[in-house]
Symmetry: C2
Subunit: 387 residues, 2 copies
Amino acid sequence: MRDVAIVGVGLTKFGERWEAGLKELMSEAWLSAMEDANISRDDVDMLFAGTMASGRFTGQEHVAALIADQLGFSNVPAVRVENACASGGTALRQGYITVASGIHDIVVVGGVEKMTDVTSAEASTALGGAGDQEWELFQGITFPGLYAMMAKRHMHDFGTTEEQMAAVSVKNHENATKNPYAQFRKKMTISDIMESKMVADPLKLLDCSPLSDGAAALVLAPLEIARKLNDTPIKILASTHATDTLRLAERETLTGVKAARIAGEAAFRHAKLTPKDINVAEVHDCFTIAEIMAMEDLGFYKKGEAAKAIAAGETALNSKLSVITSGGLKGCGHPVGATGVKQAVEITWQLRGEAKDRQVTKADIGLTHNVGGSGSTAVVHIFGRTN
Amino acid sequence: MRDVAIVGVGLTKFGERWEAGLKELMSEAWLSAMEDANISRDDVDMLFAGTMASGRFTGQEHVAALIADQLGFSNVPAVRVENACASGGTALRQGYITVASGIHDIVVVGGVEKMTDVTSAEASTALGGAGDQEWELFQGITFPGLYAMMAKRHMHDFGTTEEQMAAVSVKNHENATKNPYAQFRKKMTISDIMESKMVADPLKLLDCSPLSDGAAALVLAPLEIARKLNDTPIKILASTHATDTLRLAERETLTGVKAARIAGEAAFRHAKLTPKDINVAEVHDCFTIAEIMAMEDLGFYKKGEAAKAIAAGETALNSKLSVITSGGLKGCGHPVGATGVKQAVEITWQLRGEAKDRQVTKADIGLTHNVGGSGSTAVVHIFGRTN
């Protein structure tokens, strides 16, 4: 297995991109990443594209071949991967495996979702495809409902409060104000969150990530080649992936995501690191409770202790551990297929020292955590500087 | 890179399986494959599931995690891949790469599609996602229309006739009568085909593959491990994948599929074989013209010569080269995500000598050819006996 590095990153602005379709979003992100990596289309050996529900959102499947066509890649293998909201993280891991194995050298990994051309109800139904259609969605539950049950149980078991959840949203919106790619660049207060409309008790509108259009892309290369392309290759120190039951009702616990715990433990083991070594992390905050559980699943906090710590500011920008400097799914937006890739883009910028207004002072080691469904899929990556 | 073998295969009956959903179809195929390989669920290290449009057909995305859950695999990585009608072949190639690279040992690869719970019009729209939504489907073309244009040009350039195309259908229906898994087990005559309803001139109903429900699965292992599990491992001699423009209008030619030519040439080169070495092949006969082009793209015949040869019986069961012994997409059925995997199941049975009524006398080397869209993706595999 070879060492693998990120040598180029690209991102679109997230939001309601009514002027752009799938092709425009993908081109914007992918061409930026290729320019950043100093490569041309003829250098690309293979590509992976993560998208969750392009068929239901836009009618378009076969998205990897579409992007290969759109960018004029010459006949290279192109694979779409789909693992619900973890499609982007999955694409990154498949790209990592491809380069690490020695099969291909230059692999472009992207993620995209175009969600705002359908009604909110249609979008909600499409996103429901991440859970068990027959046993969950058909019975009337939605994703805010699933996460609301996890939140209720977390509150019951650990005394987690609605105000603590709101504090997650406030932090991520604060960081989003510093990110030019973010969908929402407006500060929010605890009372803004608490007074927003109830979606699924106890989760309010501002506890939930939005519908977004957007794309993100990464260029991967073997570390040896990376050093010739770029002064600041970011090395992938671990890439792990685990699953759990699709149905929330069958999990061992409602207050954590076992797949994330497994993937997280494996990632730290492979990287020979511990949670204490991480300086900056992008975790999957599809709902505020999800970030609280993520911080516990990954071992940053003991079970039941993350909510209080986040509310006390321990994970704010330039604290001991800066969590979700991008603004996250909540503040930056959540074009589902793009999210896992965008997390790695943000960490790359932080580790290169290119994150501008939101740059973390010490950023040597970063982590991403991308979850699909209510916790059926989890993909974790750890990244390190090489200079 | 390690040698990789198929050590277990499983298949469902194809057809209108109104009693079975995605879960039942997948379980039926996957459990058969695991039983055939003498492995239990705890032996599985990773899985890939190919499905094209499960979201639009059933509402269900996240299909790889669903099957991992359904079969009780314990937290292993699960990845859905989607490349339109080449989703199954793509899943096989990703599985092959995973085992060959040494990352995982036992990898299960499956494909599934549940197509008959929606109307034919809805199915046609969903399948249109394989082409360019904005520049092809939105303008009113359908897949029979795209292949009809290829057929018209093939007729114009090479004198290919409608009767010769009908002969492809007659051959595949004949073989399907010998396959208990086939959707249609009825002999057809040239006049049956010629007199069937026109769909898109010159393609008639019986030139076209049907809508089908079905699933297929394979267990892959490194060859060394395979020999311990099974007396008849089938070695993967080549696994190749190429793309071309998504839009038919932008291709170099309408009378062939460049991606298939590139993947085919690479496969023969990797396997150090020529088309003459192949005893049995499953090619992608989504429409009769597609099989004619496949035989030319893969180098079995010179451009313009395949139609006459097929009509003369040169590729019938137990002729020099037996093509589509399963009955193919036309006779056996075409649950799109399952097709590429099912092709490999059929070749495995032939190479093991287990194809019963449709067994080819000499079956040492086999080939599969799986196409996505109107030729934007092509995946080719070559397989050999090891005993």
